[in-house]
Symmetry: C2
Subunit: 443 residues, 2 copies
């Protein structure tokens, strides 16, 4: 049995408190399974007095993250503060320079500075680990770094943000409007007071950028992620998706194409029968498509104190067992430059919902615009809405000019073609408002 | 960069050929990612001349598995022969005694002799690894051994046999009978000429026994697995499940209870909305319930040359990186004796289908038998069958004595209670044939 592994933790929010509790609750089992004790020898956080449901008196308190990182009594530095710059970054660098392995849950830090930090870790021959930074308790980083190391990965996609999935699931199950469900999610603590980072797709984009680098052996490129949030999804889309055999999920998708890598975050229609469609509420899910291992789908809690703590501790366990392998599969110097595929070249099916003025010839004009761009249609549904103003819509006479919803599913086409077609349809003045367009993904 | 890792492979069937192809196809990437080359330095198999779609001339051929295991030119021994005794077991022991790590996909060997082999590996300070032995390409062994090491696991359950899932999926999607679908699966190569090992649940039991040991830190106990195969599942059950909001899957379930560990393999009703219900065809799925990481579900290919090869190579990768941790999480000597829970004490919901003679009072008698055992019913459906003899059934007058299907879903009760109730119902003579009973699992 080797001596104890001395851990220093900076940041005692939801995740940090969870890690302290887990290491306390399961201390004996961990030691038995690992053949080695894990001891927390130093902690730091913004507030010492905040009630965390934990007795901190037995831990040595230091004033700054950097003090924890450089403490001689710390073998492994655990950064759970969050934020891409400032104190957390400095402390991580301090630890790595001192030859100490680092565990972090900080997706912003990794998405912005991951490759530089990985290089620093390699120069000092220590590990930089971050299982908790993506998809909470789901061991997706380990799957990509270890289980699938011998595979060529073609696509990584997933539900990476619990808040968005909670909102979309509730819109789906209860047929309610986005704003109403968001307000409820905020009351329930599933959405922040300022929900932009989540519902705007930015949180998903950070996580996707990290997965991309791991999956494709490239440098990170958060700025090249195409991002579309869920604020534009209406109850009518959820309802139409259901009728057409789909569910709407906010997905992050990274895909290798001939012209480079696509990184996109957007609401996506997935087939109702797929495992990913069954992932509801705050649960996350990652699907990895490979050449040898086929398609793997991992489903689990995407956030929460306990699940995220479990991932942090799994990184500590790997370090205790001697893991020093490169952070992003390949050594940092061997990561290829990121080559961005043009989203206009993206190929796939599309869902389109238009509010068409009910006039003779309106639909023919729309169909013509689609045909001009060689967009062929798999299905077309023109119908009175089930929700909202049903009486009024139903009573409208034909050719009344009243807007009527028209829903189309296209066969595979390109983003350029569908966008051009929709721009022209809009310019023709046959529709009310803007067209709704949602990408379809086969998963 | 360390020197090359020299691998010897015994057994060149589906999996072994896949491993050779993977190591050949991805040699360069593997070396780049691992910082170390993997070289196959010796192979052996039953037939040298068999067409495997591979040129074997560049590999050194040895006559026996033991010769490969003991070859001085082999650092890692890979056993892909299968079978619980004889040559494969001897070769694995030879390698371990010589201080060589072993990778195997041999579930029978592990389920019978796993703990002894793990002890031998530990005495020689080398790894015994077997990702490919359970659920093909799904990295469930790694999840249990590494990602979830700090968790207390309460249940492991899953679809572990692709043949059974293929058959049940086809029965469900096409409304066809078991025998007919089995014959088709045999023609398509998804079922063996003698399908007993698969459809009888024995293959699932082997895999479950291995998962149990990993999840609960106990010695292996294949003989204590309760096994019920899928041969008794009728189209009427599949149809009733669908109507009631369930799907029928053959699950292996290992669960920690107050009285010990339950290991059971049986057809199971799972809620239609669950991720596991969406797992169709030959795909496998494992769900792990834990105290910290919550519930994780891993879905992927359960068999096949390429997916299984990917798992074998992931074990080789771990060995190349220095993994020597105990095979079953805990050191073999610390594994607890297996303590079997009594299945009669199992608690859960049950689906019951009876063919009741349509006579006044028949149903009252049945309800009384249930009540005597304190089995309360969640739902009862008495109806004419949609399939088979619809005309005849529909035309039967009330009190005709014609058997009519009655389907019941119970609230949570015990196995003892439901069994006693059904025995008495059968003894009362109110039903035709034997009662059908399927356990319900919330997943």
């Amino acid at each position: 049995m080797t001596g104890p592994l001395k851990v220093g933790i900076a940041g005692l929010g939801t995740v940090g408190s969870g890690v302290l509790k887990l290491l306390r609750d399961h201390n004996r089992e961990l030691q038995e399974r690992l053949g080695r004790q894990i001891v927390v020898t130093a902690i730091s956080a913004r507030s010492r007095s905040k009630d965390r449901g934990l007795d901190l008196s037995s831990y040595r308190w230091l004033e700054t993250p950097a003090a924890v990182a450089s403490s001689p009594d710390v073998d492994v530095f655990v950064e759970l503060i969050g934020g891409e710059n400032g104190a957390p970054k400095q402390a991580v660098e301090t630890a790595l320079r001192a030859g100490k392995p680092v565990v972090t849950a900080n997706k912003a830090l990794l998405a912005q500075h991951g490759v530089g930090l990985a290089a620093l870790a390699e120069r000092n021959n220590v590990a930089l680990k971050f299982e908790a930074a993506v998809a909470g308790g789901i061991p997706v980083i380990k799957a990509l770094r270890e289980s699938l190391l011998s595979n060529r990965i073609t696509r990584v996609s997933g539900i990476l943000n619990g808040t968005c999935n909670y909102i979309l699931s509730l819109m789906q199950s209860e047929g309610r409007a986005f704003a109403e469900v968001l307000a409820e999610a905020q009351r329930a603590g599933y959405a922040e007071a300022d929900p932009t980072f989540d519902i705007g797709g930015f949180d998903t984009a950070h996580k996707l950028a990290i997965l991309t680098s791991l999956a494709f052996g490239t440098e990170m490129s958060l700025k090249d992620v195409y991002i579309e949030g869920i604020t534009g999804i209406q109850a009518a889309d959820i309802e139409a998706a259901e009728d057409l055999g789909y569910r709407i999920k906010l997905l992050g998708v990274a895909q290798r194409t001939e012209s480079g890598i696509e990184q996109r975050v957007h609401p996506t229609m997935v087939p109702k029968q797929s495992a990913i469609a069954a992932v509801n509420g705050v649960t996350n899910c990652v699907a990895i498509d490979t050449d040898y291992a086929g398609s793997l789908t991992l489903v689990g809690p995407g956030a929460g104190s306990k699940a995220t703590a479990s991932s942090v501790v799994s990184d500590i366990v790997d370090i205790a067992r001697g893991d020093k392998s490169p952070a992003f599969v390949l050594p940092a110097a061997k990561l290829e430059p990121y080559r961005q595929a043009q989203l206009r070249a993206h190929e796939g099916g599309y869902y389109v919902r238009l509010s068409v003025f009910d006039k003779y010839g309106a639909f023919a004009k729309i169909a013509t615009r689609m045909a001009e761009q060689k967009v062929s249609l798999d299905s077309i549904v023109q119908r009175r809405p089930r929700t909202g103003r049903p009486g009024r819509a139903r009573s409208s006479p034909i050719d009344s000019g009243t807007p009527v919803p028209v829903i189309m599913i296209t066969h595979d086409t390109t983003e350029a073609a569908i966008r051009t077609a929709l721009e022209r349809i809009e310019a023709d003045g046959q529709i009310e408002g803007r067209p709704q367009m949602i990408r379809i993904e086969s998963i």
